[in-house]
């Protein structure tokens, strides 16, 4: 079995959740970094594009959509998984327009479902 590896960037303003996510994903062979707002995410992406992005939509000042806009403008193509508690059709469609790989509602899943998703979309090393 090929060892899945890579750099996963998590953009999420809730630090409690990010702790849990780091704990869950950290047990696997991946590097996880966390940012808490859109601007920071954009900075990281610009400096060193990750292999995958787990993106929250509602973040202070610069939100998830702004990040997606930036990615589009910069032609980044790494997979994006949107993790949000917004479930309106409007938001889902907007994300679909940015070609996100999947859209999950956080409260409708458990944290242990993160790894299978990452595994699925992380490009092989």
């Amino acid at each position: 079995m090929t060892a899945v590896t890579g750099h996963i960037l998590i953009a999420e303003d809730d630090t409690f959740l990010t702790e849990i996510m780091q704990k869950s994903l950290g047990s696997h062979n991946v590097r996880v970094s966390v940012v808490q707002d859109g601007q920071a995410a954009i900075d990281v992406i610009t400096a060193t594009p990750p292999d995958m992005l787990l993106l929250d939509l509602l973040m202070p000042q610069v939100d998830g959509f702004a990040v997606l806009e930036h990615m589009k403008a910069m032609n980044h193509s790494f997979p994006v998984i949107v993790l949000s508690n917004l479930s309106d059709d409007v938001h889902k469609k907007k994300c679909a327009a940015f070609n996100v790989s999947e859209y999950f509602v956080k409260s409708d899943m458990n944290e242990d479902q993160l790894w299978p998703i990452v595994q699925k979309y992380l490009p092989a090393a």
Partner: protein, 601 residues
């Protein structure tokens, strides 16, 4: 005597007289002709007698064979003539004269013969002379008789002619009298008709009091009486008609007042447009209040005078369509600009109003101001969205924390607490999700995206999501779905529905039971059913299964959590996707929930 009798009598009398007249003329002319024949014959006899006389003298003076023959021929001719005219002289007094004459001529025979014999023998002049004298005497007598006959005939003819003349005069007089009589009768009839005619005209012109003054006992009188009866009836029915019209008018104006009051006080805007040029002809108070114009300002104008051109054109186009059929056109919501209230949302219904020939004359519109309702709706939707999000944020933390904990090595008791709490948190997430979905369906924010789905895959991936649940309860799951079976519908929503049904099946089936997911094509539809061997649903409650917050009485007390909203969501989604949901169940045996969808949209 009736006119009919008079006319009949006149006609018959005239006919009879004419026939008699013609008959008499024929008869009389026959009589006259006969009389003149007689006269002619008598004349001829006279002539011949004279001729005979002369011939005899000739013969006696200058006897010759030729003279003799001539004389004899004449005699024979005379005889013949008398024979032939026997029928003419059948009546007295001519008859006796005729007989005398005839016998006289016949009796001359021997004397003739003697004279001839003597002449032939050359007898003496004296004898011849003697014989001649005898014959002459006879001749004179004959001639006298012939003349007498002639005279008689002449008298006859004259008398006959005179009779004829008298008769013709008499008949002529009768005919004249009858004609005069007829003339008077006709004049009388004409005069009566004239009276009837002018009387009828008077009545027709409106004088219903007029009555005909003819009272004779004949047909005219009868007619006059009937006319009078008719005039009386006419006056009566006119009177009752006028009364009924007054009554109806009263009823009608009462009804109109009632309707006017109703229309004026109905809180919805009611308007009417003329079918020809779509100009307003009527507005009620609610309309005035809504649009911010008085009806005097509105009537006679059309949409073009009140709304921006593009909006007005759209209204007019829709109006024209409404006028084409009897269907009520329902416009669930349309925005309009009002003068004093800004933008309002209206729920309008329009229908055409036709005349008695089925031609459209008006367009009737009834508008309900749903702005408040819409705002409430939007506010509710916003609230639900916001509330959901606010609830979800802390819930995520709780759930993920508990989930993380459940993977740690915990003592049995603590692990039990954690897993139970985690279960509760997941349940709460499900509830929030279901409520949001239902809210979105109700406010029409949900937009299904149909795609052609391979059912075997959809079922498989949904079952996969609940694999852990199944394993925990040691349930046997089977799938029965033809490999190539497809369905056109929204993938996400279908998965949501299936997921819910499978969860329910797992929840309410005791450990070790079995669940079967079956999909099959039936005619134009596809049926997807989830069957379990679980607790079942009491028969009496099955009809309420798909209502909000329903939980069957036999599961309320179980340790399984439920809030009754999941099935309602499935029901609402199935309706949204154009399908249907049914349930068949037996307590303690199991339940089958079936979703039916049209296989192609």
């Amino acid at each position: 005597m009736t006119i009919r009798t008079q006319l009949r009598a006149t006609t018959i009398a005239t006919a009879v007289l004419i026939l008699v007249f013609i008959g008499t003329i024929f008869f009389s002319s026959a009589v006259v002709r006969k009389a003149y024949d007689r006269q002619r014959v008598a004349q001829q006899i006279t002539e011949r007698s004279f001729q005979s006389l002369l011939l005899r003298y000739e013969y006696v003076q200058h006897p010759s064979e030729r003279a003799k023959v001539q004389w004899i021929n004449l005699y024979e001719a005379q005889l013949r003539l008398l024979e032939e005219s026997e029928t003419l002289f059948k009546r007295e007094p001519a008859h006796s004269v005729y007989e005398e004459l005839r016998s006289s001529i016949e009796n001359k025979e021997p004397l003739f013969s003697e004279l001839i014999r003597n002449v032939d023998l050359g007898a003496s002049d004296t004898i011849i002379q003697e014989l001649n004298n005898q014959l002459s005497m006879r001749s004179q007598a004959r001639i006298a008789q012939a003349l007498r006959l002639s005279e008689l005939s002449h008298d006859d003819a004259t008398a006959a002619a005179r009779n004829l003349f008298a008769f013709v005069t008499f008949v002529g007089l009768i005919v004249f009298i009858i004609s005069t009589g007829s003339y008077f009768v006709s004049t009388k009839i004409a005069a009566s008709f004239h009276i009837l005619g002018s009387g009828a005209k008077k009545i027709a012109e409106g004088d219903l009091e007029y009555r005909f003054p003819i009272h004779s006992s004949d047909e005219i009188g009868e007619l006059s009486r009937l006319f009078n009866m008719m005039a009386t009836e006419l006056a009566k029915s006119q009177g009752s008609l006028e009364q009924r019209v007054r009554q109806r008018t009263k009823e009608l104006s009462s009804l109109n007042r009632f309707l006017d009051a109703m229309i004026e006080n109905i809180p919805n805007m009611i308007f009417m447009k003329d079918a020809k040029d779509l100009k307003f002809v009527r507005f009620n108070k609610a309309g005035e209040d809504l649009l911010g114009y008085k009806r005097e300002d509105l009537i006679g104008k059309s949409d073009l005078d009140f709304f921006p051109a593009d909006q007005a054109e759209a209204f007019i186009k829709k109006d024209r369509k409404v006028l084409l059929s009897d269907a009520v056109v329902d416009i669930p919501e349309e925005p309009i600009q009002t003068r004093l209230k800004g933008e309002r949302w209206l729920h309008t219904r329009k229908v055409r109003v036709c005349d008695e020939h089925g031609e459209p004359v008006y367009l009737l519109g009834i508008s309900e101001d749903i702005t408040e309702y819409k705002r409430t709706d939007m506010a509710k939707s916003e609230f639900v969205s916001l509330a959901s999000h606010q609830l979800r944020t802390p819930l995520t933390e709780i759930r993920w924390a508990l989930s993380s904990l459940s993977h740690d090595a915990l003592p049995k008791e603590q692990l039990h607490l954690v897993t139970t709490a985690l279960g509760a948190a997941s349940h709460m997430a499900e509830t929030i999700k279901a409520m949001l979905t239902i809210s979105h369906i109700e406010t029409q924010e949900i937009h299904p995206e149909p795609a052609t789905l391979k059912l075997s895959e959809v079922i498989a991936s949904t079952l996969q999501l609940h694999e852990m649940h199944r394993e925990k309860k040691s349930l046997k799951v089977t799938t029965d779905c033809p490999e190539g079976l497809t369905l056109q519908t929204d993938e996400q929503l279908l998965k949501e529905m299936l997921s819910n049904l499978i969860t329910n099946a797992y929840k309410y089936t005791p450990d070790g039971g079995s669940v079967r997911v079956k999909a099959e094509k039936r005619g134009q539809h596809v049926e997807i059913s989830v069957t379990d061997t679980g607790l079942g649903i009491p028969a009496a409650e099955q009809s309420r299964l798909f209502t909000k917050f329903f939980r069957a009485s036999n599961v309320v007390s179980t340790k399984e959590e439920g809030n009754g909203i999941g099935l309602y969501m499935v029901y609402a989604l199935s309706k949204l996707l154009g399908g249907a949901i049914t349930c068949s169940s037996e307590e303690h045996k199991g339940t089958t929930i079936t979703l039916t969808f049209p296989s192609a949209l």
